[in-house]
């Protein structure tokens, strides 16, 4: 249907280089999430695909056609904005029919399409209301409905859920996933929320300061981050990082110092690393276990205990480095207790001084 090919695209705002030689292949009917911290260029990327921003060099093609110089309406796209961007003086129906009316479609067709979109989004009852009479979630549905009615090849979402409250966000997230299955359209979704990225995406593209840090399926990114940035960005709570040194190295294993107490051998290696190098040991909170026999372990004092019901977060400190541990269910560990946390070597990540991951 609609592959999107982005080839060495650059973008400047004045002297600021915001998108640096970005190349991406987005497969037809995939759900691709552009994710990254604010200012990483993800929204700019989306707006360039939409045709709302100029491209300084490189090409963007949709379905094999270079669209660099096409206005948005000729790119066969629809976009959903963070602030919904509904037309406040029009009813929901007119909002959704606006694009179709501009295309000079027949009245019956407009009516059919709007009704269909309203049915999919369950907003049939609100069609004759004005946007200001709707709640945030309803407005967002209308904004999505406005995109659906035009039957575009590509849907672009610019942080569509970030104006909603937490409960509604979860609900809309599920509905967006359903919608993608229903419509079978190519969707590109921008968010800074890694949970949204993990749950919705077929492919996640992590952007960092205008560069694609890593692209892959959510579980690839989770299990196998390319670099420190992706490791830290994907997963919640954040991956723990501990500065340490390589004590010895073989072709498939790297042994690092565990803060003097012991050593651990991690089944990952890097060609550029050598003995004595400073490295970051990364381990996710959910891979740390309390009082269990394992490949490596620390003893440490608990500073904060956060009970969520389904799990408990323990905030520890080990020689100045903060350490978060996620345990299942309720825990009787109290603030001030000293606990022993263990972890398995295969769950560890190593990042060298240029922040690249050991593989």
């Amino acid at each position: 249907m609609a592959d999107i090919k982005i080839d060495t695209v650059n973008k400047y705002y004045g002297d600021v280089h915001v998108i640096k030689d970005v190349s991406l292949d987005i497969k037809s009917q995939s759900f691709t999430v552009l994710v990254g911290p604010s200012g990483c260029g993800k929204s700019t990327m989306l707006r360039m695909i939409a045709g709302l921003e100029d491209i300084h060099s490189g090409t963007i093609s949709i379905d094999g056609q270079v669209v660099n110089d096409l206005p948005p309406k000729q790119r066969n796209i629809a976009m959903v904005f963070q602030s919904y961007a509904l037309y406040p003086h029009m009813t929901v129906f007119d909002n959704m029919a606006f694009g179709l009316k501009l295309e000079k479609r027949s009245k019956d067709e407009i009516n059919d399409r709007v009704q269909e979109a309203a049915r999919i989004l369950q907003i049939e009852d609100y069609l004759h209301r004005k946007p200001k009479q709707l709640s945030g979630g309803q407005r967002q549905r209308v904004a999505i409905g406005r995109a659906i009615t035009r039957k575009p090849k590509v849907f672009l979402f610019d942080e569509p859920l970030s104006n909603l409250d937490a409960a509604l966000r979860v609900q809309m997230r599920v509905e967006l996933a359903k919608l993608h299955d229903q419509l079978n359209a190519t969707m590109i979704y921008v968010t800074h929320d890694q949970t949204e990225a993990m749950t919705l995406a077929n492919d996640i593209v992590v952007l960092d300061e205008g560069i694609v840090s890593q692209k892959g399926s959510p579980m690839d990114l989770y299990n196998d981050p390319n670099n420190l940035f992706v490791g830290g960005f994907i997963g919640s709570p954040k991956m723990n990082f501990i500065s340490t040194k390589i004590t010895s190295k073989s072709s498939d294993k790297t042994e690092v110092d565990l803060m003097g107490s012991s050593k651990i051998s991690i089944p990952k290696t890097s060609a550029s690393a050598s003995e004595g190098d400073e490295v970051q040991l990364g381990i996710r909170p959910e891979h740390l276990t309390v009082n269990a026999e394992s490949d490596g372990s620390w003893e440490s004092k608990v500073f904060v205990v956060e009970k969520l019901g389904s799990g408990t977060f323990l905030y520890l400190e080990k020689e100045g480095e903060p350490l978060v541990v996620e345990t299942e269910g309720d825990s009787n560990i109290k603030v001030g207790d000293t606990v022993k946390v263990g972890f398995s070597a295969s769950r560890c990540h190593l990042f060298d001084s240029s922040q690249q991951a050991f593989k």
């Binding site: 939409a50 045709g51 709302l52 206005p71 948005p72 309406k73 796209i77 629809a78 976009m79 904005f81 963070q82 602030s83 961007a85 509904l86 037309y87 406040p88 003086h89 606006f98 694009g99 501009l102 295309e103 200001k132 904004a143 406005r146 035009r150």
Partner: protein, 379 residues
């Protein structure tokens, strides 16, 4: 319940004072314009609801009205024309003692003729000898006049003094002078806000800079240029198109600036959504900007219309002071010179000139407030 603090009481008080200061002269003008012109000339509008004491001089009828009755020559008449409601309380026959006699008393002139008068102003003047003068003698009366309101002043001002014509002339000046810049500035402000083109910011800076050029300074050069160009096309030196163009020119900068500030407050994402929906600039302008800008248009309309309506200077410079072209303010100024004594004409004329601004303001005021504060609160 709002807390009553000293500041809020003070500000409420101040507001009240301002309101009173603004309302009272307007109210006075309105009352005055409705009062009888004789009453208006001797007492203030605040006495209009009480009876007023009036001293008047009347001349009685002359010899041709005399009739003979029981050896007396009698002249009967009334000093009031029609029923004015005035009640005479005393009268006199010499200017030194104007209320020498009370009602019912007989006043005797030097020639032994006698006069009596009742409270409605009917007098009986009788003499044993024949009246021989064409003019009657003077009668000084003091009477109480009840409150009296009338539309006569309006009738006179609108149809006899030419204010009616001037009113229409002013409309003919003010309406195009408001609508033309409004139409131009709406397109202009849209382009300045939502279109990217070379020199846009410079243009905006120029517009803001032109706001500080005083009208009085550029008036004469513009008139000269207009006349030179007009001569090329055979257009009269002073005519309506000239004044329209002048008002358009002087108003365009401020209207554009105000409207641009409003448009700037509309969310950018909405325009982008429309662009993605396939709308051209023209579509966006007509289908999204225009309906959303009605409050802004209304407030700019009020400002520009009131400016043109109340303007005297531009109208004086760009129009001839002939009945077909003179505007209301110029006409009032002219009346002030020629009929300065006739308060009833001036107050009525002034009030006529105020009716349109008052009407416009009350009709559009809800937009006026919204337009001025729009953008300050998130909708």
């Amino acid at each position: 319940m709002r807390k009553l603090s000293l500041t809020s009481i003070l500000s409420q008080l101040l507001l009240l004072i301002f309101v009173i200061i603004w309302i009272i002269p307007t109210f006075g003008l309105f009352i005055s314009s409705l009062r009888d012109k004789d009453l208006l000339s001797i007492s203030g509008w605040w006495t209009s609801l009480t009876t007023t004491e009036i001293n008047e001089i009347h001349r009685m009828l002359g010899m041709e009205y005399q009739i003979q009755e029981n050896n007396y020559y009698i002249i009967k008449g009334s000093i009031f024309e029609g029923n004015t409601g005035k009640k005479i309380t005393s009268f006199g026959i010499t200017s030194k003692k104007i209320n020498e006699f009370s009602l019912g008393e007989i006043a005797t002139f030097k020639d032994n003729s006698e006069v009596t008068i009742d409270e409605n102003g009917n007098y009986v003047w009788k003499s044993k000898t024949e009246f021989t003068k064409k003019k009657g003698k003077r009668l000084f009366t003091t009477s109480l006049s009840p409150p009296s309101f009338t539309f006569d002043n309006y009738k006179e001002v609108l149809f006899k003094e030419g204010i009616g014509r001037a009113f229409i002339n002013t409309l003919a000046v003010a309406l195009p002078s408001t609508l033309i810049p409004l139409i131009i500035c709406s397109f202009f402000a849209y382009a300045l806000t939502w279109m990217k083109f070379f020199g846009r910011d410079t243009l905006l800076a120029l517009i803001i800079a032109s706001l500080v050029v005083p009208l009085q300074m550029s008036l004469i050069p513009i008139l000269t240029i207009y006349n030179d160009f007009g001569a090329l096309f055979g257009v009269a030196a002073k005519s309506y198109p000239g004044v329209w163009m002048a008002h358009t020119g002087f108003g365009l900068a401020s209207t554009t600036f105000l409207l641009r500030n409003f448009l700037k407050s509309l969310p950018n994402e909405m325009m982008e959504a429309a662009k993605v929906d396939g709308a051209s600039h023209y579509d966006i302008f007509l289908k999204i900007i225009l309906p959303l800008s009605i409050p802004a248009f209304a407030s700019i309309f009020i400002l520009q219309f009131l400016w043109c309506w109340n303007d005297l200077l531009v109208g004086l410079v760009f129009l001839d002071q002939v009945p077909s072209e003179i505007i209301l303010t110029a006409k009032l100024k002219e009346l002030l010179g020629s009929r300065g004594e006739n308060w009833e004409i001036l107050t009525t004329g002034a009030f006529v000139s105020m009716t349109v601004p008052l009407f416009i303001f009350f009709a559009l005021q809800r937009y006026f407030i919204r337009g001025l504060v729009s953008g300050s609160v998130k909708g």
